[in-house]
């Protein structure tokens, strides 16, 4: 299988380094502005939920981070597979850069979910399928990061962790559906589902906007981390020498 032509530009480390640096401030700025708008819309403009009152507003920080936690893993596994198949350094660097961000947002989704659970379910923790899968996802992220850290050679760390990411992506849906199936056997539906018929446009648009803003935020941080990962992998190449000299003045 040949690498698609448009991907070639992204396989060149100096090119990616340059364009990541140029894009980062714009992405970060835009994501923060959109987040401010989304939070305003969610906290002030959206009406209180008829069942959960103002407690439902936690949705505006919980759902976007839960979404990122899985989307980032999917991206990480895709980048890992590309790195393994086409031996592309930049793809491995993307996976390495994405993992810590994904772990942070998984932790955030767990914490906000637990706090939300207290007023809604009367308990911080419930062994329900989504919470359990999210917890396992966090462990898989942590295992991935630890495996990376355990190798002295970056090339080996890249390949070993890429295989772990690929095996993990097969396993994650299995884990998710096993927990659903497993908890459905002998547990009554103790959890009050969040679905409410009176959901309005004013509630929905901030949420969609925030999911978009979080994605931009992730992209920005990914690019910033990607630059460090690329430098690490290209430390002996000439262009890195030029970059280092260009930033030699103390900033």
């Amino acid at each position: 299988m040949k690498l698609p032509a448009w991907l070639h530009k992204f396989a060149s480390p100096p090119h990616v380094y340059g364009f990541a640096g140029a894009l980062y401030p714009w992405l970060l700025g835009l994501s923060l502005v959109l987040m401010a708008v989304g939070f305003y819309g969610g906290l002030v403009l959206a009406p209180a939920d008829y069942q959960q009152g103002d407690g439902f507003r936690i949705i505006y920080v919980h759902v976007p981070s839960a979404y990122l936690s899985t989307a980032v893993y999917a991206l990480m596994a895709t980048a890992s597979a590309i790195g393994l198949i086409w031996r592309m350094k930049v793809a491995h660097a993307v996976a390495a850069a994405a993992a810590p961000i994904g772990a942070w947002f998984t932790l955030l989704a767990l914490m906000t979910g637990a706090i939300w659970g207290k007023p809604m379910w009367g308990t911080y923790w419930q062994w329900d399928p989504r919470l359990t899968s999210e917890l396992i996802l966090l462990f898989i992220y942590l295992g991935y990061i630890s495996l990376r850290g355990a190798f002295d050679e970056l090339g080996k760390a890249d390949r070993a962790s890429a295989w772990l990411a690929v095996v993990g992506v097969v396993n994650l849906p299995i884990i998710h559906y096993s927990v659903i199936w497993w908890s459905s056997i002998h547990q009554g539906p103790t959890i009050k589902k969040l679905g409410s018929p009176s959901i309005t446009m004013e509630m929905v648009w901030p949420l969609l906007l925030l999911i978009f803003a979080y994605s931009l935020f992730f992209a920005a941080i990914l690019l910033q981390r990607l630059r460090a990962e690329i430098l690490d992998r290209e430390r002996y190449s000439r262009w890195v020498g030029g970059v280092v000299q260009a930033t030699a003045s103390p900033t």
């Binding site: 630890s146 095996v167 993990g168 396993n171 199936w181 497993w182």
Partner: protein, 222 residues
Amino acid sequence: MIRVLWAQIQRDLRVAYRRAGDVASPLMFFALVTSLVPLAIAPSRTVLQNLGPGILWIGALLAMLLSLNALFRQDLDDGSMEQLAIGQHPLPALMLAKSIAHWLVAGVPLVLLAPVLAVTYHLSAPTVSALMITLLLGTPTLSLLGSFGAALTAGVRQSGGLLALLVLPLCLPVLMFGARATALAGLGESIAGPLYLLAALLALALTLLPLATAAAIRISLD
């Protein structure tokens, strides 16, 4: 092909036989951990009957994990893994043989010891047989997953804790279905559903994981 598999299994079993102490320690660990639990919590009959399936399954899982650390260590140290990798036989098949040998050495004794320990938990006869069947179907998957984890961490110093962190989340479905089916048998219900799922997991692991294990062990070779 089958001959190559069989030769590799025989070789690994012979090596295991010569270091019988290493083989026995996970077994003793299994017996010890599962006998500590009744002493740590109230040894009442109903409590033990409720907790028994889960505890025995967790004990088996941890015992399997304990035996994984040394899985590739010797072969890597004495260079025989390198011989296998550059040899004419496909490495995934040899890795499959290694996983099977690991299961024969570490998994099968656990299956045989489990009913003895189950008696101390006052488990009923159908529960004990369900425990043995689920262990029989589940432990090969654990061996295959564990081989993959051991291959990933083969080139790493101090891999024990890391191996657990990598492998345990992946083992979760096997643990859940195994323990759940055993508990269901205790309630007198059909365990066919979880058994099919355990078998499906085993089939999936048998086909895919040897490939990943072979790729992972190659990393530690160069």
